[in-house]
Subunit: 286 residues, 2 copies
C-alpha cells in the first residue's frame, strides 16, 4: 500500500504516516491538495495530512480540502512535535543571519528566535523538512532551518539547538484519508471508541441555528471534541461548521442526531468515522 | 492622532485605517504584534488590524494577540478586497517566473495563478504591499507581486492584471484598537447598533459546557455573529472561544448573559463594545 504525505522526506507528516501505516511505502508530494487528489484518483491508497496543532491552531486549508474532495477520514494520530535548529556542519548559532521554516514552525519557535537569534531574519518556506533541504543545498553557513530531527540526518545537517518550541505541550493531530467509502486499515486501532467528523452549513433562515445545531448532540448526551468554523465562500458573514463528535455512524443515537441536524442544515456531509487515535511521543534521541 | 497598521505603505490595512480614522496620521509598523504593543504603550492612539477574510477565514494570530494585550476593540470595518498583479514597467505576464505575496493573498488568487501563470513559482512574503516593494527593488522583470492597486502607484509598478481574486465576495474585516478602557473616536459610527466581542475559556469539568455557553445568549434572544475557537496553550484538546454578540456592555440583558457565562467559565474577558461597522467597497479606478 502507498501512503502520500505533503512535504519533503524527513517531515513530521512522514513520521505520522509511518506510525499510522507501519511497513507501507510513503510517498512525498509537493502540496496538501496533491495529497487529496492522489487519494481521490487512486494514485495512492492512503494520505496523511496535519489538521490541527495544539499551539498554533487548525490547518484551515485542509478543512477546506476535506469538504471539496471525495475522501473519507479513516484514522487519526496525535504526534508530539519537537523542533530543532539545524545548519551545515561548521555553522555557529551566533553567526546565523537567516532562519527558514514553515510559518507555523516559525510561530511555534518565536520565543527562541527572539532570544537566541536576534540578528537573524525569518524566511517563510512551504514546509519544515523542505527548509532543511534548502539550507543543505545553499552551501551557506549563515542559513539555518527549523525542522524535525530526522531531517538533519536526511540532509546532512548538524543540530545547533534542540527542543526550541515555545511550549512542551506541542502536538499535531494528523488525519488518515482514503477514497470515500473505503474502510480502515490502520496499524494502530485496538478497540478504541469511534469518533465521527462532519461538516455542515446551517440554514441561514433558522433563528439561533448554531445553538440548535449543537443541541442535536447535547440533548442526546453526545460529546463534541472539536468545533471549527470556516467562511462560506460567496456568502460573507455565513460559516460552515466542522464538528468531531463521539460515536460511529452505525450508532443509532448518532444517526438520529444527524437526521435531526439535516432538518436545519443547508448542507451536511459525514467526513468519516474512525477510531479515536493514540498520542505518540515522537522520536527524540537528542 | 496616530493610527498604526501592519505592513508597508500601500497596504489594505492602511486603506482601512484611513477610512476608520479619516484625517489622522497613519503609521506603518513591521508586525501585527508591534501594532498591539504600540497601542498598549501609548506610542500611537489607535491601531487597525485585519481579523477575518470572507474567503480565507480568520487571522488567528490576531485573536491570540487580542487576548494577550491590554487593548479594547473600538470599531470595525468590512473592506472589499481587490487584488492586482503588478511588476516593473516593461514586464510581461507570460514571462513572469516568480509571484510574491502574503500567503492569504496567494490563496485568494490561486485560480488565477494556476490558469495564467502556470510557469511561475509562488514566493511567500509577510505582506502584500511589502511584496510590491520587493519587486520594485529587485530590478527583475521576471518577478511580480499580488498587492492592492494603491501599492503599484506607491512603488512605481505597472498593473499586469486586475480583479484576480477567485471570488468577487472578497471582504476583509478590520478592527480598530485603543488602549483598554478608551472610548470611541471613529470617523464613521452614525447611530449603528452595538456589537460586543468577548473571549472565554469554558470550565473543563462542566459537561456540555460549550452548548451551555452558547445557551446563555440564545436563551436571552441575543444573536451571535461569529464563533471562533483557538487552542488553549498548554492544554491540548481544550479551546478558547471568541464570540461576537449583539448589544453593548451597558445593555442589561447582555450584562446578565455575561454574568451567567462567568458561572461556567474559567476565564472571561470583554474585548470591546463598538458600533457594527460599515461595508466599504474600496478603491477601484481600474
Amino acid at each position: 500500500m502507498h501512503v502520500a504525505f505533503q512535504g519533503e522526506p524527513g517531515a513530521f507528516s512522514e513520521e505520522a504516516a509511518g506510525i499510522l501505516f507501519a511497513n507501507h511505502q510513503v510517498v512525498p508530494l509537493p502540496s496538501m491538495e496533491s495529497v487529496f487528489e492522489a487519494v481521490v484518483q487512486g494514485d495512492v491508497e492512503r494520505g496523511v495530512i496535519p489538521i490541527e496543532n495544539s499551539l498554533f491552531g487548525s490547518v484551515h486549508i485542509n478543512y477546506d480540502h476535506l469538504r471539496s474532495h471525495d475522501v473519507s477520514i479513516v484514522g487519526e494520530l496525535k504526534l508530539r512535535i519537537r523542533h530543532c535548529l539545524m545548519a551545515l556542519p561548521g555553522a555557529a548559532l551566533d553567526k546565523i543571519t537567516s532562519v527558514l521554516s514553515h510559518p507555523q514552525a516559525l510561530g511555534q519557535c518565536k520565543t527562541f528566535i527572539r532570544k537566541e537569534l536576534p540578528q537573524a531574519q525569518t524566511v517563510l518556506a512551504y514546509d519544515t523538512a523542505g527548509s532543511a533541504k534548502l539550507v543543505a543545498q545553499s552551501n551557506d553557513l549563515l542559513q539555518a532551518a527549523i525542522a524535525p530531527r530526522r531531517a538533519a540526518a536526511q540532509y546532512g545537517l548538524q543540530i545547533l539547538a534542540s527542543h526550541i518550541e515555545s511550549h512542551a505541550q506541542n502536538y499535531t493531530r494528523f488525519l488518515a484519508l482514503a477514497q470515500r467509502g473505503e474502510g480502515h486499515t490502520l496499524a494502530h486501532t485496538g478497540d478504541q471508541p469511534l469518533k465521527t467528523s462532519i461538516v455542515f452549513a446551517p440554514r441561514s433562515n433558522v433563528p439561533g441555528v448554531l445553538f440548535k445545531s449543537l443541541a442535536v448532540f447535547f440533548l442526546r448526551d453526545l460529546d463534541l471534541f472539536k468545533v471549527e468554523s470556516r467562511p462560506l465562500v460567496g456568502s460573507p458573514g455565513e460559516y460552515l461548521f466542522y464538528l468531531d463528535v463521539e460515536g460511529g455512524t452505525r450508532d443509532p443515537v448518532l444517526q438520529l442526531a444527524l437526521e435531526h441536524l439535516k432538518e436545519i442544515s443547508a448542507e451536511l456531509r459525514v467526513l468519516g468515522s474512525y477510531p479515536q487515535g493514540p498520542t505518540w511521543d515522537g522520536v527524540d534521541d537528542g
